[in-house]
Amino acid sequence: MTGEGIADPGELPPARFVVDRVHVTEEKSRTRRALSFMRSNPLFSIGLGLLIAFVGMAIIGPFLVGDPLLTNPAGMFSPPSADHWFGTDEYGRDVFARSVNAARLDLSIGLAIALVAMTIGSTIGVVSGYFGGRTDEIIMRLTDILLAFPGFVLALIIVAALAESLLNVVMAVAAAYVPYFIRLTRAQALVEREKEYVDAARLAGNRPLRVAFRHVMPNSLGPALVSATLVTGWAVLTVAGLAFLSVGIQPPTAEWGVMVGEGAGDIITGEWWTSLFPGGMIVLAVMAFHFIGDDLTESRT
């Protein structure tokens, strides 16, 4: 006698294939693909949107708004209105015109800093990672020393020590980010140098420096390039922070940090717009680079 639930195979209905649902993948339209990409990468999309807006502002903005340095003693501290979207400051300068003009300066400086830091840092990093040994040891210890200072403090010290000029600000802040790029590129160079194409390059007659820069370096730049986005954002923040402390870029230059610094005192007397709008610009710009950089870093790992 068979137990309950154990059916005789003969009693089973004949097998048949049941087609439950048929999925037909339609060619998605370009817009729908873009929308679904944005849904799955919301932060990246926000960042990219903001970045495009900022770049547009930096390139064509200054031609559309008024003179950022034009003072108007009759119209000082006028609140945001249809004429002055972000209001005017203590000299009657249009805060919107100044903020838009500052976008060009701040983004250019941020980008320049990231590029300078990446170029120097990656070059040193490749040498450190590819040659190893004593060279690597020395470079790494020096990097440790630099990393022991917070980047902002380091930049502050360097700018204070140098004459105040735009170039020196770029160099000082770049110097603060160089160790970061050294580490990133060194780590990748350590991976690359074990690959067979490096031995093949040596056998093809390449001398050590040529192997390092022509073969290993281009293949070790990936992480540094991705992180350059992040660093651009941080650099904008650092430059604005320095300017806020009256280090580096000086008034009356239209620069977000300078504007926040000048306007900070106005909050107490009720003129909140002179510092809030440039401050908001800093936040949005840093956010844009951070969202993009973060997403790129994650998708690499």
Partner: protein
């Protein structure tokens, strides 16, 4: 005429107590236009020996003599560099991923020969055709090529400086069977046209049998048997060679020859026994093997074996 000679080559990795002897006293000769197969299990030192021969690693002691000249560890000796090249095991990583095929091929010619401009362009096209790729492959990047195509490019790169010796380090082991035999046919064809010598490093015995004129069997950093290929496959003398050959699957259904299963593990190269390094796994072991290490000795025409039982 002897093209390459290894004289008592030792290569030890590491410092102090943690040293690993990868190659322990290798003597061998390679003739012009000859293919010497170098076989042995993983970790026996065959790749290290290959790297020492091309100069990527310097031997700890001993000499690499190429065409009568001591070239041990002289990677950048221009004439030696031009005349000795190498093909690596993994075609996917042996080509610079950023370079187009033409750049990869141009480099050794620019750096090692006096070829320039048109002559160089012709040489690239001619070499690509020789390895069975059309000239349209010049503009491709490694990502756009298959494993077999990548290995053909790697072979072309090795040929660009018209070398006399190419060390082939398991050039077919990461390729599938059909492509493997085509690459072997290609290598033989190139050898016929260019009179180049090969050191063919492999753990795949059936591949080695197809291409090598002579075969050297390596075990734990030493060559234990060298012989003409057919003689070695028909009559292996060293007990390790016998075990190695018996592990090759036969396609003959009537073949009932017994498979020799080696006992135990390969001893760790950091703690080698006194005497013959094969003693603990050997069928023919006797008292002498436990105290004295045998040396490679001639046991027949063009045949050397490192075993007391055979000598």
């Amino acid at each position: 005429m002897t093209l390459l000679e290894c004289r008592n080559i030792h290569k030890t990795y590491g410092h102090g107590v943690a040293t690993v002897p990868a190659v322990r006293g290798v003597d061998m000769q390679l003739e012009r236009g000859e293919t010497l197969g170098l076989v042995g299990e993983s970790g026996c030192g065959k790749t290290t020996l290959g790297r020492v021969i091309v100069g990527l690693n310097a031997p700890t002691s001993g000499k690499v003599v190429f065409d009568g000249e001591d070239v041990s560890g002289r990677l950048h000796e221009p004439e030696f560099r031009r005349r000795v090249q190498m093909v690596f095991q993994h075609p996917q990583s042996s080509l610079n991923p950023k370079f187009r095929v033409s750049t990869t091929l141009r480099e050794p010619a620019i750096l090692l020969t006096s070829m320039r401009n048109e002559e160089l362009g012709q040489q690239i096209e001619q070499t690509l055709r020789l390895v069975g790729l059309g000239i349209e492959y010049q503009t491709r990047k490694p990502k756009q090529l298959s494993g077999g195509q990548l290995q053909r490019v790697a072979i072309a790169r090795a040929l660009m400086s018209s070398p006399d010796l190419i060390v082939l380090d398991e050039p077919t082991s990461s390729l599938d069977q059909s492509i493997r035999s085509r690459i072997i046919a290609l290598l033989k064809d190139i050898q016929e046209r260019r009179q180049v010598s090969y050191l063919f490093i492999s753990h795949d015995l059936s591949t080695v049998r197809k291409i090598a004129h002579r075969v050297a069997v390596m075990y734990l950093g030493r060559i234990v048997e060298v012989s003409e290929t057919e003689a070695l496959f028909n009559d292996p003398q060293h007990p390790y060679t016998q075990a190695l050959l018996s592990a090759v699957p036969s396609i003959d259904p009537d073949d009932r020859s017994e498979r020799i299963i080696l006992r135990g593990e390969t001893p760790s190269p950091t703690a080698l026994p006194v005497g013959c390094s094969f003693q603990d796994r050997c069928e023919l072991v006797h008292a002498r093997c436990r105290v004295e290490a045998p040396l490679l000795q001639e046991t027949g025409p063009a045949r050397h074996v490192e075993c007391f039982a055979v000598q």
